[in-house]
Structures are given as structure tokens and as C-alpha cells.
């Protein structure tokens, strides 16, 4: 049982687990922070951006972080825990010879598709005339200015995938539901469990009959829109792989939401616009819900909310139809029937408007002051670039960062000098360390495996000893490109017995509560499932021969010989020999057993603990006679 760690990023994990002859990839997150090294891609050529000193428009956008630790074509299945963790899927399924299946829940696939679609759309609509790749050469990279010089693994950065690749990757996904048991080649069973972090996000249990590995990634105990986390099923695991904890352990999501609302209100009252760079799904639903309650009380009901994304419409509508993946009170609304999310009402009352892009209808409806939700949170591509350029010059406007994935200072770098106000209130609902220790106490796994970053306090706050995982025995940590041998051995395998065979067994109780029985049967293996069948009747010599060709294991078709057991008491054996007319018997003790010498027949019988040999000179009759005598002392079955 081994774990190959392909990604060092704690919230965007990519691990490969070898478990009982199956190779399982757990998540494939795409680390997009490398885009911060690029210039923003504006929709309309911007004279300011293209004339920035020291920057030059480099090739599109390339990000994947993956190592050649393992041959990816040997991966049998990929388990996806949430839609943020599947963004690298096209790179893996399309260009590595991967032939397996991907398992994910339906909302994960649909929203993941939206995220990928948005990404591809943002990048493809502004094609580059040329791409530079020479700079990735080590020797040249060394000469580049600081952030690029220090970037690691530049050679693994790739161009963004295309829509065809996305479609073909997504077509390899098989949809699953929570608590559905999926058999992998008969050897392993995997089960997704609700993780409470996002629509359709899941933790996975990977188990064989006697071992259980839980994979916890991106879970949340807060009550937001998705179904609450299923903790009970994680109990009794041998190993618990823990990834995707909160990236901002010091920030309280509730407080951040309050800050978000008050800053928004302040700006709008002063006549400024608010820009919220965000993903098209996820936290935005909660933000809209908060605003729904807040704007009326703050007297801002006339301020329009705009949500601009190529997938805005689909995202808002998908959220309403995934009723069974929502938390309980949202689910119960569906039966009233009412839309589970209040943004339906915002849309109906024209307070929230969504547009596929910044051109077209939006430009006719546009009114200021307003609140704009748009992507991408890295501020490097998407419509947000245009708004940054448009509003950045005025100190009335505010940009509020809510996504914790990117450092907001770095994201803002190419827009400096900036008159606009910047507020950073990251909202990350994933588990924090207090919740983790509570969870671990409850679930009681034998071993915990987690990224290295979680075993020590964050470097910025090294005194905060509470910001690390604390459990007994201490958690095993992994790093990028490391192979971890998980500390338990498989010892048992389940074998089924055919009813006819089970009928014929006669158990004997050797200790109270423990019974034994001897079984002689044929072990039949098909699709990694083992089955004991009654031995074939010996009276079928003809059919046995025929079957030999088709069946896979040879011993199955030979006529069965009875197996022997027991030990031979030498004294009695000698007496029996004498009874049968052998005389002049000599017994020698050896280290392992005895040698019985029949001197007149010049024959030797070696009796050892695990073998018995009869050595005689070409006298088959004699040998058979002796053999029969020996067999009398042994039990057959």
C-alpha cells in the first residue's frame, strides 16, 4: 500500500494510491498561481497594459504541476472530490495514455464543466499571435527578473486546454451518488460521502473487505448551501488522508461575510462601484444569499447586482436543480415548491442580472453605481481585467477579494498604481484546525496522512502552535514528489464458499468460540473474487480434458488426489511392518525424524516432519505395499 504524492499544494491535491492491485488517483487539482507571473489578458487591447515596462506579453497561460513519479497510463481510476480539484483532468486523460474511468458526482461534473468552459472561453477569445517558450529554458530563465527566475518547474507549465479536450475528458467520467458503492475490478470498493464544502463535493472511502482508507478533501462543517458532511462513515478507518483544509486558518468565514457586506454598502453609498472577482460557482451563491437579506435592510435595494460570466446563466440555474445535493432546509423548499436559492427571487425582481459577457446586452443595461461579480479571481484573464482597467483610476470604487486561492497583492501588481480601494476578506469554509482535531477525535483513524504544511504552523505565524494538526499517533506528512509507504499490511482476503460445499463441512470446536473444519475444494478466481467450489467429480475423465483448454488454472482440472495429514508413530509403524512379514527392522534417529531400514529388502523409509520417502530398488510391488502401510497411519481428506 503506497501513496505517490504528485502535488505539494495542500488544497489542490493530486495523490496516487496503490491499493490491492488497483491504482487510484485521488483528485487532480490545477495550481493556477503560476498565471500570476503573466500579464493580464484584456478583451480589448489596452495601450496601458501592453506598454508596461519590464513586462512583456508571454505565451498564454500554462500551469499544470505534475511530476513523472508514476506512469499515469497505469492509473485505473480517478476519484474527484470537488470541482476545484478536477481542473487538471484534461491534461491527465488526454495526453498520458490514461485508459481508466473517472468517478465524480453529478454536480461536480456539471459545475466543473462550467469552470473549465469559463477558463477556456476567457483564454481562447483573446488568441495570441505568437507564443514564447524559449524563456522556459533554464539558462535563459536564470536571467529573468525575480518572480520568474524563482518559479519552479517552469517546464511543466502547459498551455491551456481546448474545449474538445475538456469534452473528451469529461466523457470519461462516470456519475456516482453519495454512499453509492462502486466495485473496482472486484478488488476494491469505493464510496463517495458528502463533504459539505460545495455542491456535490465528496470525501471518498476506499475499502477492501478488511481494510479501509478514507480520503478527506475539502470538507466543511459550516452550514452553507451543500449537504452537511457525513462524518459517521469515516469511522474505523485504518488510514485517513487529510487534505484541503482552510487556506486562511485565522479568518472566520462569518466575520468575513459581514465585512464584505459592510464594505460593499459603504462604497455604494458613496457612489462607487464594487467589483468582486470570483469563480462562477460556490461561494457566490452564499454571497448572493447574504446580499439578498442585507441590501434591503441597508437601503440599497436599487443598486443593481451584475454577474458576468460565460456560464453565469447555467451556474445560477444548475444551482437550483441540484436539490438533492443541498442542505436540508434548502431541500425542503423544493417541495413547497420554491427555488432553493434566493437568487431566483433577486433575478425575478431584476436586482440581480446575469450576462454571458461584458459586450452585448450588458452594455445597454449598465448603470452605476453597481456591484459586479465576475471572473477570474487571479485578475489575469476574464472580464474582471476590463473592470479593473475601467474602475481602477477612481478612489470611489472598491475591489473585494473573496477567493482565498490567490494572493491579492500579487494579483493586483500589474494594475498599480491603483486608486481603487482593495478589501481582502477571504471566505474559505473548509475545515480549520480546531474542527480537524474534533473530527479526528470522533473518527479515530489509526493513522493520519496529510501534506507537510499541516504538520507545522504557517511560516508567517510560527508561534501559533494551534494552527497545525495535532493527533495521536502523529500525522504522517508528505511532500511533493514523494512516495509514502502507508503503515499497514494487508493480511486477510475474503473467500466465499459455495453452499453445497459449506453443507459438507463438519466443524469441530477446539476452543470455546473457535471451531475448525477441513475443507478440500477448488479455489476459483474470477474478476478478483475468490470462490471455493466443491472439487470436480473424478468420474469425468473426458470432460476434464476438454475443460483443460478453457479453464485458467491447471490444478482445477486434474483429478483430485486426497491430501494427507498426521504424523507416523514410529513404534507402531514398526510393529505393523513386522506384522506384515518384514523382519530385521532397524530404526535410526536423525535430526529431523527417523529412518526405518528394512535390511533384507534393502529398502529405506525416511520419515521426517514434512515428508516421507520410500527408497527401494525397482521393486514397485514392494513400494506399493509399503506405501499402503504408511497411508494407514495418516488421515485423508
Amino acid at each position: 500500500l503506497k501513496m505517490y504524492c504528485l502535488s505539494g499544494h495542500p488544497t489542490l491535491p493530486c495523490n496516487v494510491l496503490k491499493f490491492k492491485s488497483t491504482t487510484i488517483m485521488l483528485d487532480c487539482g490545477l495550481d493556477m498561481t503560476s498565471t500570476l507571473n503573466f500579464l493580464p489578458l484584456p478583451l480589448v487591447q489596452s495601450p496601458r497594459l501592453s506598454s508596461l515596462p519590464g513586462w512583456s506579453l508571454k505565451d498564454g497561460n500554462a500551469f499544470l504541476d505534475k511530476t513523472e513519479l508514476i506512469d499515469l497510463s497505469t492509473v485505473d481510476v480517478i476519484l474527484i472530490s470537488n470541482y476545484h480539484c478536477m481542473m487538471a483532468l484534461p491534461y491527465i486523460t488526454e495526453h498520458t495514455g490514461f485508459t481508466g474511468t473517472v468517478y465524480a458526482t453529478e454536480p461536480t461534473v456539471q459545475i466543473g464543466r462550467l469552470l473549465m468552459e469559463e477558463l477556456v472561453n476567457f483564454i481562447e477569445r483573446v488568441p495570441k499571435a505568437q507564443s514564447a517558450s524559449l524563456w522556459k529554458n533554464k539558462d535563459i530563465q536564470r536571467l529573468l527578473p525575480s518572480p520568474l527566475k524563482d518559479a519552479v518547474e517552469v517546464s511543466t507549465w502547459r498551455r491551456c486546454y481546448t474545449m474538445q479536450e475538456v469534452n473528451s475528458a469529461l466523457s470519461k467520467i462516470q456519475l456516482v451518488g453519495y454512499s453509492q458503492k462502486i466495485e473496482l475490478f472486484g478488488a476494491v470498493q469505493v464510496t463517495p460521502l458528502s463533504s459539505g464544502y460545495a455542491l456535490g463535493s465528496s470525501n471518498w472511502i476506499i475499502q477492501s473487505h478488511y481494510e479501509k482508507v478514507s480520503y478527506v478533501s475539502g470538507s466543511s462543517l459550516l452550514t452553507t448551501h451543500p449537504q452537511p458532511m457525513d462524518q459517521a462513515s469515516l469511522k474505523n478507518s485504518d488510514v485517513l488522508v487529510l487534505t484541503g483544509l482552510t487556506q486562511i486558518p485565522t479568518a472566520n468565514p462569518d466575520g468575513m461575510v459581514g465585512e464584505f457586506c459592510s464594505n460593499l454598502a459603504l462604497t455604494v453609498r458613496n457612489g462607487g462601484n464594487v467589483l468582486v472577482p470570483c469563480y462562477p460557482s460556490g461561494v457566490i451563491y452564499d454571497l448572493l444569499e447574504c446580499l439578498y437579506q442585507y441590501i434591503d435592510s441597508a437601503g440599497l435595494s436599487s443598486v443593481p447586482l451584475y454577474f458576468i460570466s460565460p456560464v453565469a446563466n447555467s451556474s445560477l440555474e444548475f444551482s437550483q436543480i441540484f436539490a438533492e445535493w443541498l442542505c436540508h432546509n434548502k431541500q425542503s423548499k423544493v417541495y413547497l415548491p420554491e427555488p432553493p436559492f434566493p437568487h431566483a427571487e433577486l433575478i425575478q425582481t431584476n436586482k440581480l442580472k446575469h450576462y454571458p459577457s461584458i459586450h452585448g446586452d450588458f452594455s445597454n443595461d449598465f448603470r452605476q453605481p453597481c456591484v459586479v461579480f465576475t471572473g477570474h479571481p487571479s485578475l489575469r484573464f476574464g472580464d474582471v481585467v476590463h473592470f479593473m482597467e475601467l474602475w481602477g483610476k477612481s478612489s470611489l470604487n472598491t475591489v473585494i477579494f473573496t477567493e482565498p486561492d490567490f494572493s491579492y497583492l500579487e494579483a493586483l501588481a500589474p494594475y498599480q498604481p491603483l486608486a481603487m480601494k482593495c478589501i481582502y476578506c477571504p471566505i474559505d469554509t473548509r475545515l480549520n484546525f480546531i474542527q480537524v482535531s474534533k473530527l479526528l477525535k470522533e473518527v479515530q483513524p489509526l493513522h493520519v496522512v496529510c501534506p507537510e504544511q499541516y504538520t507545522q504552523p504557517p511560516p508567517a505565524q510560527s508561534h501559533r502552535m494551534d494552527l497545525m494538526i495535532d493527533c495521536q499517533p502523529p500525522a504522517m506528512s508528505y511532500r511533493r514528489a514523494e512516495v509514502l509507504a502507508l503503515p499497514f499490511k494487508r493480511r486477510y482476503e475474503k473467500i466465499e464458499i459455495m453452499p453445497e460445499l459449506a453443507d459438507s463441512l463438519v466443524p469441530m470446536e477446539i476452543k470455546p468460540g473457535i471451531s475448525l473444519a477441513t475443507v478440500s475444494a477448488v479455489l476459483h478466481t474470477k474478476d478478483n473474487k475468490h470462490l471455493l467450489q466443491p472439487p470436480p467429480r473424478p468420474a469425468q475423465p473426458t470432460s476434464g480434458k476438454k475443460r483443460k483448454r478453457v479453464s485458467d488454472d491447471v490444478p482445477d482440472c486434474k483429478v483430485l488426489k486426497p491430501l494427507l495429514s498426521g504424523s507416523i508413530p514410529v513404534e507402531q509403524f514398526v510393529q505393523t511392518l513386522e506384522k506384515h512379514g518384514f523382519s530385521d527392522i532397524k530404526v535410526e534417529d536423525t535430526a529431523k525424524g527417523h529412518i526405518v531400514l528394512l535390511q533384507e529388502a534393502e529398502t529405506l523409509i525416511q520419515i521426517e516432519e514434512d515428508s516421507t520417502h520410500i527408497i527401494c530398488d525397482n521393486d514397485e510391488m514392494l513400494r506399493v505395499r509399503l506405501r499402503d502401510l504408511v497411508l494407514k497411519f495418516l488421515q485423508k481428506f
Binding site: L43, D76, P127, A129, F185, S363, F366, L390, S551
Partner: protein, 991 residues
């Protein structure tokens, strides 16, 4: 000539020497790769460390010559290493290294096999086998090695790990000997029966191994080994496997076998009948169209399309959904009677044959919908997954193309697919229908369904449907009427479809003259007694009707009698304005001028070709004329050629091309005729506008010649470059004459000589054709030029330019000028496009491109703000006044803020409707601050070129550092469409 040759031989060894020195130097400074690795691995204290070193090492490429050393070090470490994950990485590195180009891996094979034998970890074993596979595929010639590897694979086939068995099977599939049948008798046991070995693993316990076995078998087939027919039965068993990967691969294998042995006979299990193997396979694959997994269904549906040998009654069953009674062939009454008689048992006598032994129906064997071929396509076309539906439509298309009777039968199903919810499916079925349309005639109800698609919002679908209507047959006049009405509805709903609809009606008319005839009075709304109002000639709908009628009238002489007077007038107008849509008609009371033209087009081609040749010949003799005469001759010829190009569209490319070339020459001659040159001393005057402008223009024209024409060959490229060189010489001379000071001149001279050098190197093979030319003379004097001062160089160049011969431009076979027409925006509208300032407006651009090579990379859209207006700056609300467009020198300021943008369309925006034709449908984004009034934006298409793309790279240049090249890196754009003006009106944002 002799001189020049000496010059080459002098130049070349020098270069080679230099190059050798360079490479040697490189090798010396480069640290030895293997040594570094060795040090790293020795340093490694723990397996994890070693792994990191190996990972780092794997990132850099290894040169072929040092591979062996690296491999030795890796192996050495391998023996010492206990950690399997490190061994795994080493094994995979070995595989990677053996793939290095230029390295022969046979030397490491022994070691690889050796370590294989002692390896315990299954995973490493599998990786090692993979390495062996890489080695084996690298050495396809070496039979002995292949045999050995196959032996190794067979040995490990019994491994308990599925991964190892997989790799073994893969190895067998890729390396199993092909000449088995030949060597069988000779070697007997030595040659293993690879097929049998692989076949045994069809029943492996692990599904992954079963899949791998089938894949290996398919691999054998791909490599040209003939599979045995016995495999067919084995593969059929796998069709009912529990795992979809196995079934999917099995379907493929069955298909392969059915293509290999289509005519062999196989028994039907439930009776003693026998059928052809291809029919049996067809039935089995059809059955898989209703498999539980959609992947298998797609696979099966796709493969059905390529089974053309299948018998027609099986084929037709696929469209019949009736369930047969448990799908077995029923025996005939005679057979049953015979059986009864032979059974000879007593019967109660109440009923005839009631005691006859009945066929025992095994409940497991009866498939509820075991349908064979029945209804396969019905299922496929109704599948829930659109991928399956698309595959079924594709298969239907291929089968229908090969069988007309099937085409007719599948029509209904295909027409139904026009209503599919997924656009791709609709599009695919429309295309399919078009492909088989020569076999079919549409009924009215079918037409109804087809025409309903015209309301589709997708432009692609509508245009595909227009194409389909162009080539379908309609059975009744009501059908024609219906089609016309629907097309006109389409026209009003989507006016942008105009051209496509007109074209569609043209074909519809010419295909069904007799059906159109009875409709004419109604369509033209003529009345036997009364004159009706004359319809509006500019109405696209009316034009559409006329296009239909005129095209029908072409083969229906009685039709013109029904026309009213104004129809004839309109005919004359349309014949002129839309000549590609309206044919020449034989009209009463008209001279048959137009009809006389059409048959003679072919015969006319010759004289015009001749004319072209003759005028060009004449021009090349201008060497002997005085300058004045030469100029006149050139001017006349250019005029002639241009006119010829306008008249004869087939010759337009050639005529334009040669005219451009002549114009260059004309400009050159004119420039050299200037008075400027008569003055002995340099004047440093600014008056040589004409000469420098000429040089610049010649350059531009040569770029156009090089990049705007498709079909330009190397011969022409040389001449074009030569012309450009002359222009550069001219430029140099002019600069020398007009600028004071020597410093810039030095640089220019050097640059020019460098360019001559490049020219010579690139076109070394063509130099013999350039006798007496400028370059030829230049190269003769090259050694002298290299050493002389700029002033002297200029003097030499000047005399040479005057003396050089005018080069004959050989005409290429096929030459077409790239052209583009912007269909949309039409530029007619006066309504400005309004948008909020600061935001973005998207301008739809639709253009057709002709004869553009690689449009994805070359075609760009340019937008320019032209016209004048007042620009409102939002920040301080100042009003800037902008210059009026009267003074051309201030053009840059003309645009409200001097913007001219270039936009690269997405690759996906280009469609390729036909050879040499492309269509660009894209959106151009504009953004601006507020203006006082609507303003014009000019949109045009540009052809970007990069001169380095055309010139073949010299091999020696790639290795070394990139030398500063002036010639090769010139990039630029040529406008190649008429600009279209669009009004836009940014308005201030609302509060």
C-alpha cells in the same frame, strides 16, 4: 560566372571551419551528464533523496552519445537499491533513455533482462517490461532480439500481478513475430504461436488483463499479422463480459475478424443453419448497440458503418423494430415433420405431434431483446446519449452511401433526427442526408420536417440545410412551394442568410423546372386580365423568387411566356447584377448575345492565354528600348494585363501577378531616370521623394507578390527577392545621396551586403538562372565591395542597377490572388451601434476568404477609428477637438484617440467550406470612452506575413545562437480586403 564560382568555394570551407570550432567549444564547456548523475546518486543518503535526484535528472534531455554511460550508472544504482519506488523510477528512466534518438538500445537489453529475472516487486517488473517494449520497438529489424523478448514475456505471463500480465501481453502484441506462418515448419517449436498464447488470456480472471489481451490481438492485426478465424468464437464469448472495456475491445476484434473472413460460414447455435461470418458479426455488433454501457454502444454503432459487405436483408432488419420470437430461426414444417417421424414415439393421437420432443428453452440463453440486427439503428438513433446517436447517424450515412435501397429506407429515420435536441446531431444528420441525397426523393411530409429546421437559431445548421436543399429532389409542386415559402420565412427572420438562400433557390429551380412551371403565375402574382403592381426590385424575397423562376426557365422554354413585362426588365437587371445566380435565358425578342457567350468560353480561353504570353514576351525585350520607350511599353502592358484580369476571372491571378511585377520594374526604371542622378556630387537634398517612395513601394509590392498569391513556387520567390534586393540597393543609393554624414551609411552598407550574402545562401541553387542580373553582377564584385568604402559601394551599385538586365518572371501553373470580402458588417447602415462608454461592444464580422493558405495564422482583423468628432474624456470632462481630415499628413491624429488595433481571430472562427475557400465568422471587440456623436470605425482584413516562414532554414543555423538577421525576421501585414465602415456610438454611462 567563373568568378562567382571561385567565390563560393572560397566562402564555404570558411563557414564549415567556423562551425566546427563552435561545436567543439560547446562540447568542452558542457558538463558531463553522466558524471553529474553519478555524483548525485552517490550523495543520496536515503531512497527519497535518490528519487528526487532522479526526478531532477529526468527533466533534462540526454544526448545520444552519453546515454550508454548514464544507463550504466543507473543500472549500478539499481542493483544496490532496496526501495522499489526508486527502482521503478530507474526502470522508467531506462525506457525513456532507450527511446533517445540516435541511440541503439541493444547494448542495454541484456542488462534489462538480467535485472528482470531478479526483480521481486510486481510494479517494477511491469515497468521493466515496458522498458523492454521500448527497446524492442526501437529495433524492429532485429529478429533475434524480438524472439528473445517474446520469450521473456511468455515467461512472465503467469505472474500473479495483473500489471505484469498486461505488459507481457502488450509486448507480445507489439513484438510477436510476423513471419510466423513462414517459419512455422522450419523452426517448429522455437517459433511460438503468439496468437494462441494471447488467445488463452481472453479468459483471464482480471478484466484488465482480458482487455489487454484483446488489445494485443488488435495490435497484431495492425502490424499486419493475419488473425486466425478461431478467434472469432473466443471474441464472441467476451461480448457478454461484465466489464465494459472488455466488451468494447471485443466488439472491435469481432469487426476486425469479420473484415478478414467475410465469406466464411459459421453455424447458428440454435439451429443447424449456417450463415456468412460477416452477417453473423453484423448481427452481434448490432446487438451491442443496445449494450448497457454507452461507450460500447458508441463503439458498436461506429463500426456498423464500415461493414459494407453485409447482406441486404440483414441491413434492412436494422431499421425494423419488431421483436422476433426469441430470435431463433424457426425450422420449416418439413423439418419438423421429419423429426417427428424419426422420433417414432407413441402419441395420444388427440393432436398431431403433441408428444414430439420440444426444443428445450434454456432460460439463461434467451435474451429478452436478443435482437440480432433487428432495430439496431432504431435503438441507436433513439439512444439517450447523443454520442451514440451521432455515431448511429454516421454509420447510417456510410451504409446508405453503399446501398441505394437502404438509403431510401433509412430516410424517414434520418429526417426524424432533424428534430434532435442536440445541435451536433442535427448538423450531422443534415450532412448525412446531403451525402446520400442523389439516391433519394423527399416526400412532402418529410420535406415538412426538414424545412422546420430552417427556424433553427444556429447559423451552421441553417446553412447546412440550404446546402442540403440545393441537392435534394422534391416530388411535388406543393413541395417546391412549401420550400420556397419556408425559405422566404427564413429570409425575413435571418436576413444574413440572404446569399445562402439565393444560392439554394438557384439549384432548387434548375433541378425542378417542371414543378416550378405551374407555380409561376402564383409566384409572380400575374393575372390573366389585369396588370398587377410591379414588385420592388430591391426586395430580397422578390429576388429570391426570381432566382428560382429564372433558373427553372433555363431548361423550360415555355416558361418565359408567362412572364409579364417588368419580369423581363428585372431579368435584364439581375442578369447583370447577380450574374452568378441568374443564368442566360433564351428569351423571345432578344438577341442571343448572352447565350452565345457561354459555349464559347472554353475556346476563348486560349486566345487570352496567348495574349497574355505575347504581351509578356514583348515586355522582356524592353532591354533594347530607350528608357522612354521602355516606360511606355510597361505602362501599356500593365494596363492590358489589368484589363485582361478583369475580363477573364481564370487568368486574374496570373495577370495581376505579372502586372505587379512589371509595375515594380516600371517604378525602378522611373526612379533611375530621375534628374537627381545626373548631378555628379551628392546634393543632400530632400527632393528625391520620388526615388525613395519608389523604393518603398517596390518593397511593398514584392511582399504582396510573395505572400498574397497561392501557388507561388521557388522560381518566382527568387525573382521576387531579387527585385526586393534591387529596391534595397535603390534605397541605399538614395540615402547616400540625400543624407549627410557617413555614420548611418556604414551601417546601411553593411546591412545590405549581409542581405546579399543571405540571398546568395538561400537561393544558391537558383543562381545559374539569374545570369546577367543585378545579383549576378553584384556577386562578381563582392570581394571588392566588402573592402571598399560606402561611397564607393554606392557608386558601384548605381552603375550596376542601371546595367542590370530585366529578369524574366516564369509564370507558375496555378496562381491565385488571395482575396477577402467582408459580407458583414455591410457598411450600408447609418444607424450607429450604441454601447455604454468604457464597456465593450462586439462587432460581428463575417467574411469569405479565397486562396488563403493557413488562414488561422495569417488572417487578422484591423479596426481603425476614422472620421472626426469630439471625444469626451470622462475624468475631467474636457472636450478635445480633433483635427479635420483634410491634411493627410496628420492622419494619425485623425482618429479620436489615434487607435488602430489588430485583432487575431480565434482558430475556431475559421470554417472551410471548400478547397481554397475559407469563411471567417468572428466578433471584434471595441471599447471607447464617450464621444459626442457617432463615429466611423473602419474594419478590414489583413494578411500577416513573416518572411522567415517561407525561406527554408539552413541546418547550420539551428544549432548556433541566432544571428541578428534582418532579412529573415521581417514581419508585416498586407491589407487584402476593402475596408468597411461602421458607425459606433459610445454613450456616457447611466447613473
Amino acid at each position: 560566372m567563373r568568378n562567382s564560382r571561385k567565390w563560393f568555394s572560397f566562402l564555404y570551407p570558411l563557414q564549415q571551419q567556423q562551425e566546427e570550432i563552435a561545436t567543439k567549444k560547446l562540447r568542452l564547456t558542457k558538463p558531463s551528464k553522466s558524471a553529474a548523475l553519478h555524483i548525485d546518486l552517490c550523495k543520496a543518503t536515503s531512497p527519497a533523496d535518490a528519487l528526487q535526484y532522479l526526478l531532477q535528472f529526468a527533466r533534462k534531455p540526454v544526448e545520444a552519445e552519453s546515454v550508454e554511460g548514464v544507463v550504466r550508472i543507473l543500472l549500478e544504482h539499481y542493483y544496490k537499491e532496496n526501495d522499489p519506488s526508486v527502482r521503478l523510477k530507474i526502470a522508467s528512466l531506462l525506457g525513456l533513455l532507450s527511446k533517445t534518438a540516435g541511440f541503439s538500445p541493444d547494448c542495454i537489453m541484456d542488462d534489462a533482462i538480467n535485472i528482470l529475472q531478479n526483480e521481486k516487486s510486481h510494479q517494477v517488473l511491469a515497468q521493466l517490461l515496458d522498458t523492454l517494449l521500448a527497446i524492442g520497438t526501437k529495433l524492429p529489424e532485429n529478429q533475434a532480439i524480438q524472439m528473445r523478448l517474446v520469450d521473456v514475456a511468455c515467461k512472465h505471463l503467469t505472474d500473479t500481478s495483473h500489471g505484469v500480465r498486461n505488459k507481457c501481453l502488450q509486448l507480445l502484441g507489439n513484438l510477436g513475430s510476423l513471419e510466423k506462418s513462414v517459419t512455422k515448419d522450419a523452426e517448429g517449436l522455437a517459433a511460438r504461436d503468439v496468437q494462441k498464447i494471447i488467445g488463452d488470456y481472453f479468459s483471464d480472471q482480471d478484466p484488465r488483463v482480458r482487455t489487454a489481451a484483446i488489445k494485443a490481438m488488435l495490435q497484431l492485426h495492425e502490424r499486419g499479422l493475419k488473425l486466425h478465424q478461431t478467434i472469432y468464437n473466443q471474441a464472441c464469448k467476451l461480448l457478454s463480459d461484465d466489464y465494459e472495456q472488455v466488451r468494447s475491445a471485443a466488439v472491435q476484434l469481432i469487426w476486425v475478424v469479420s473484415q478478414l473472413y467475410p465469406e466464411s460460414i459459421v453455424p447458428i447455435p440454435s439451429s443447424n443453419e449456417e450463415i456468412r461470418l460477416v452477417d453473423d458479426a453484423f448481427g452481434k455488433i448490432c446487438h451491442m448497440v443496445s449494450d448497457g454501457s454507452w461507450v460500447v454502444r458508441v463503439q458498436a454503432a461506429k463500426l456498423l458503418g464500415s461493414m459494407e459487405q453485409v447482406s441486404s436483408h440483414f441491413l434492412e432488419q436494422t431499421l425494423d423494430k419488431k421483436l422476433m420470437s426469441d430470435l431463433r430461426r424457426k425450422r420449416t414444417a418439413h423439418e419438423r415433420a421429419k423429426e417427428l417421424y424419426s422420433s417414432g414415439e407413441f402419441s395420444s393421437g388427440r393432436k398431431w405431434g403433441d408428444d414430439a420432443p420440444k426444443e428445450e428453452v434454456d432460460t439463461g440463453a434467451v435474451n429478452l431483446i436478443e435482437s440480432g440486427a433487428c432495430g439496431a439503428f432504431v435503438h441507436g438513433l433513439e439512444d439517450e446519449m447523443y454520442e451514440v446517436r451521432i455515431a448511429a447517424v454516421e454509420a447510417l450515412c456510410m451504409l446508405a452511401q453503399s446501398s441505394p435501397s437502404f438509403a431510401e429506407k433509412c430516410l424517414d429515420f434520418l429526417v426524424d433526427m432533424f428534430n434532435d435536441e442536440i445541435e451536433e446531431v442535427r448538423l450531422q444528420s443534415i450532412h448525412t442526408m446531403r451525402k446520400i441525397s442523389n439516391n433519394i426523393t423527399l416526400r412532402e411530409d418529410q420535406l415538412d420536417t426538414v424545412l422546420a429546421v430552417l427556424e433553427d437559431s444556429s447559423r451552421d445548421i441553417r446553412e447546412a440545410l440550404h446546402e442540403l436543399l440545393c441537392c435534394t429532389n422534391v416530388s411535388t409542386k406543393e413541395g417546391i412551394h412549401l420550400a420556397l415559402v419556408e425559405l422566404l420565412k427564413n429570409l425575413t427572420k435571418y436576413p444574413t442568410d440572404r446569399d445562402s438562400i439565393w444560392k439554394c433557390l438557384k439549384f432548387l429551380g434548375s433541378r425542378h423546372p417542371t414543378l416550378v412551371l405551374p407555380l409561376v403565375p402564383e409566384l409572380l402574382s400575374t393575372h390573366p386580365f389585369f396588370d398587377t403592381a410591379e414588385p420592388d426590385m430591391d426586395d430580397p424575397a422578390y429576388i429570391a423568387v426570381l432566382v428560382l423562376i429564372f433558373n427553372a426557365a433555363k431548361t423550360c422554354p415555355t416558361m418565359p411566356a408567362l412572364f409579364s413585362d417588368h419580369t423581363f426588365r428585372h431579368y435584364a437587371y439581375l442578369r447583370d447584377s447577380l450574374s452568378h445566380l441568374v443564368p442566360a435565358l433564351r428569351l423571345p425578342g432578344r438577341k442571343l448575345v448572352s447565350s452565345a457567350v457561354s459555349p464559347s468560353i472554353i475556346s476563348q480561353e486560349d486566345p487570352s492565354q496567348q495574349f497574355l504570353q505575347q504581351s509578356l514576351e514583348r515586355v522582356y525585350s524592353l532591354q533594347h528600348l530607350d528608357p522612354q520607350g521602355a516606360q511606355e511599353l510597361l505602362e501599356f502592358t500593365i494596363r492590358d494585363l489589368q484589363r485582361l484580369g478583369e475580363l477573364q476571372s481564370e487568368l486574374a491571378g496570373v495577370a495581376d501577378f505579372s502586372a505587379t511585377y512589371l509595375r515594380c520594374q516600371l517604378l525602378l526604371i522611373k526612379a533611375l531616370q530621375e534628374k537627381l542622378w545626373n548631378v555628379a556630387a551628392p546634393l543632400y537634398l530632400k527632393q528625391s521623394d520620388l526615388a525613395s517612395a519608389a523604393a518603398k513601394q517596390i518593397m511593398e509590392e514584392t511582399y504582396k507578390m510573395e505572400f498574397m498569391y497561392s501557388g507561388v513556387e521557388n522560381k518566382q520567390v527568387v525573382i521576387i527577392h531579387h527585385m526586393r534586393l534591387q529596391a534595397k540597393a535603390l534605397q541605399l543609393i538614395v540615402t547616400a545621396r540625400t543624407t549627410r554624414g557617413l555614420d548611418p551609411l556604414f551601417g546601411m552598407c553593411e546591412k545590405f551586403l549581409q542581405e546579399v550574402d543571405f540571398f546568395q545562401r538561400y537561393f544558391i541553387a537558383d543562381l545559374p538562372h539569374l545570369q546577367d542580373s543585378f545579383v549576378d553582377k553584384l556577386l562578381d564584385l563582392m570581394p571588392r565591395l566588402m573592402t571598399s568604402k560606402p561611397a564607393e559601394v554606392v557608386k558601384i551599385l548605381q552603375t550596376m542597377l542601371r546595367q542590370s538586365a530585366f529578369l524574366h518572371l516564369p509564370l507558375p501553373e496555378q496562381i491565385h490572388k488571395a482575396s477577402a470580402t467582408i459580407i458583414e458588417p455591410a457598411g450600408e447602415s447609418d444607424n450607429p451601434l450604441r454601447f455604454t462608454s468604457g464597456l465593450v461592444v462586439a462587432l460581428d464580422v463575417d467574411a469569405t476568404l479565397e486562396h488563403v493558405q493557413d488562414p488561422q495564422n495569417t488572417v487578422k482583423v484591423q479596426e481603425m477609428f476614422t472620421g472626426h468628432c469630439f471625444m469626451l474624456d470622462q475624468r475631467n470632462r474636457d472636450v478635445y477637438s480633433v483635427d479635420l481630415p483634410s491634411r493627410p499628413r496628420l492622419r494619425k491624429v485623425l482618429y479620436p484617440d489615434g487607435q488602430a488595433q489588430m485583432i487575431h481571430p480565434k482558430p475556431a472562427d475559421f470554417r472551410n467550406p471548400g478547397p481554397g475557400r475559407h469563411r471567417l465568422i468572428t466578433q471584434v471587440y471595441l471599447s471607447h470612452t464617450a464621444w459626442t456623436e457617432a463615429c466611423q470605425v473602419e474594419v478590414r482584413l489583413l494578411l500577416a506575413y513573416n518572411s522567415s516562414a517561407r525561406i527554408p532554414k539552413c541546418p547550420w543555423m539551428e544549432g548556433g545562437e541566432v544571428s541578428p538577421q534582418v532579412e529573415t525576421s521581417i514581419e508585416g501585414t498586407i491589407p487584402f480586403s476593402k475596408p468597411v465602415k461602421v458607425y459606433i456610438m459610445p454613450k456616457p454611462a447611466r447613473r
